[in-house]
């Protein structure tokens, strides 16, 4: 898949995943990877940016398999941002679909 497409929707996917439940970094990467082939290097900086923008809060939780894991929890600001992004995505998706359909019918 086009990497620019992926980059554009990654924030939406990350916010949506954390909205469902609190996750740690690797778990999030695995979840996203099930949907699209994504470069892990882009997800951690994105998590950091979203945390710096107060869309996420983090906390440490003990893990039986090693050191404590850093969990991400979505904030109220994060939920608002997710809602806005979802609306934008729906509009964008519908517009592109309409456009493609129209072009196919013409052509």
């Amino acid at each position: 898949m086009n990497s620019q497409f992926k980059k554009g929707v990654l924030e939406l996917m990350v916010l949506k995943t954390v909205r469902r439940r609190d996750v740690y970094g690797y778990e999030l990467v695995e979840t996203i990877r099930q949907a699209i082939d994504v470069n892990e290097g882009t997800i951690y900086p994105l998590l950091k940016r979203l945390t710096n923008e107060r869309y996420f809060e983090t906390y440490l939780r003990e893990s039986p398999e090693g050191p404590p894991r850093k969990y991400y929890h979505i904030t109220a600001a994060g939920i608002l941002q997710l809602d806005a992004l979802e609306r934008e995505w729906d509009e964008f998706h519908n517009s592109v679909c309409e456009f493609l359909k129209e072009m196919n019918e013409r052509g």
């Binding site: 290097g41 951690y44 900086p45």
Partner: protein, 258 residues
């Protein structure tokens, strides 16, 4: 590149960030590699999945606003750099040159210049405020936006003697107000107790057959009203007690800030 090499290289490249942030990032990437290895991948494979190293560093640094840059040595503050000159600007440039010594020195120099300029502006503002206070012939300063009428009228009094008198008046008014409120509070508490006793007696007599249920309800209602009044008075006393009288030093400080 194995895990150790990757992490030490990464740490070198993000050295411009605060130590806590560096540790946080390194821990996260180390944990990711460990989990990938636990899932059957080699360290090299896990690291390769992060993509191009320079792009990775640029992405990490672009997530930080300039306020989180590590300040130059000897500087106490860390947030004076303009946002526009954030790490993102560096991240957009040549990633390999991003953390060169030249860039760091330039950044520290700019930070230092901004800090000096801010200090000069602050000193000038303090001097101007002190001069304005002298010219005003010792008028009492009040906090900006103070809504207390007694403080405002005291501020209008000229001269040092008047200032002391004003402070004395404020103190007397405050003490008188507290005493009045306390007396009223005591009266309310005693009345509430009387109503409660009346309520209890009426209920007992009502059970014995006397037609006193109306009086019992009246006592209950009045008792509740008096209790509410007592709570309001208590709040009033606490607020009055919290008024802060400004000392001459504090007044001067307030003037400087205004």
């Amino acid at each position: 590149m194995d895990r150790q090499q990757f992490l030490s290289r990464l740490q070198q490249r993000i050295a411009i960030l605060d130590e806590v942030e560096q540790t946080d990032i390194i821990d996260e990437y180390a944990q990711h590699i460990d989990l990938e290895v636990a899932n059957g991948k080699s360290q090299e494979e896990a690291i390769a999945e992060f993509g191009d190293f320079d792009e990775l560093v640029a992405e990490i640094l672009s997530a930080y606003p300039s306020a989180e840059l590590k300040p130059a040595e000897g500087d106490a503050g860390g947030g004076d750099l303009p946002q526009a000159a954030g790490v993102a600007d560096y991240a957009q440039g040549d990633a390999s040159a991003m953390l060169s010594i030249g860039d760091k020195l330039d950044l520290m120099e700019r930070f230092s210049r901004l800090k000096d300029a801010r200090e000069r502006r602050r000193q000038a503002a303090v001097a101007a405020a002190a001069q304005a206070t002298d010219v005003a012939d010792g008028a009492v300063a009040t906090p900006a936006g103070s809504k207390h009428p007694v403080l405002k009228s005291a501020a209008a009094l000229p001269g040092k003697g008047a200032r002391a008198t004003g402070r004395g008046i404020i103190w007397l008014v405050r003490v008188a107000l507290v005493v009045c409120l306390a007396v009223l509070l005591l009266f309310c508490v005693l009345t509430a107790l009387a109503f409660m006793v009346g309520f209890g007696v009426s209920i007992v007599m009502g059970i014995q057959g006397y037609p006193l249920i109306g009086i019992a309800l009246l006592c209950l209602g009045l008792g509740a009203i008096v209790c509410g009044l007592a709570l309001l008075l208590l709040q009033g006393i606490r607020k009055t007690h919290d008024w802060k009288r400004l000392s001459p030093t504090q007044e001067r400080t307030v003037t400087e800030h205004v």
